[in-house]
Amino acid sequence: MVRHNRIVLEMESIPENVGVARLMVAMLAAQADFTVAEVDEVKLAVSEAVTNAVVHGYNSQPGHTIRVEASLEEDTLRVVVIDYGRGIEDIALAMQPAVSSDPERMGLGFCFMQTHMDTLHVESAPGKGTRVEMTKRKGMERVPSTSGN
């Protein structure tokens, strides 16, 4: 079992790379013996955060970079998803369930991240980009905690 690891992924902003990020983080969680159910939760949270970078951060335009930092420290997995795109004006509003700037979308992304990870922290500057940091400890009852600034 792996107790310490760190993997950084930098990739193009295309839809097909969401699955690459998801799998990379899932492998890291599996290395630390997260349960299958816990790995599934991590995959969903990563999928939402990276999809937001592609779809909102870069308006679904290719040719931009998304950075995913994943690290393992004993029982805790930390995932940071960064884009250098549009940014979010009102983070508190954006994080509310069912709030989306796109009528084809459900506004459940942040909600899924919050439900499935232990902590979620969002930083963003309009025109500069967005940074979503999430952690999850294995073998835990989840105690959601959220903050935005």
Binding site: K43, L44, S47, T51, V55, R105, M106, L108, G109, F112
Partner: protein
């Protein structure tokens, strides 16, 4: 992800497998909207039996098709969603809008 479909009268059955994210969402939307644009279908049944993962992008595409189909008086059904997807499906509220069936046969005969 892989996607198959079959037409039974005015009912479209779409069989999905693997991981359903924004890539699958785009393919699914295109397929179903094509049938709807040509007025070829009224009902949609989505077979989730072999799906291992789905996220809010796919749920959004599903809901979007539900809206179009409701407008023409059709119905959308979900076939055999695996237990591991249940929490996500429940959180999204789709079960309030779409009936659930244990098999394609039962979906089509109920429809």
């Amino acid at each position: 992800m892989s996607m198959e479909h079959q037409l039974f009268g005015d009912s479209l059955v779409v069989r999905l497998s693997g991981e359903l994210d924004l890539v699958a969402a785009a393919h699914f939307k295109e397929l179903v909207d094509d049938y709807l644009d040509w007025g070829k279908i009224r009902h949609l049944y989505v077979n989730l039996e072999k799906v291992t993962f789905l996220d809010s992008s796919f749920l959004g595409a599903l809901l979007g098709r539900y809206r179009r189909i409701s407008q023409i008086g059709g119905q959308v059904g979900l076939i055999n969603p695996p237990g591991s997807l249940r929490p996500t499906l429940e959180l999204s509220g789709v079960f309030q809008l779409m009936a659930e069936y244990p098999s394609e046969r039962e979906a089509l005969s109920a429809g």
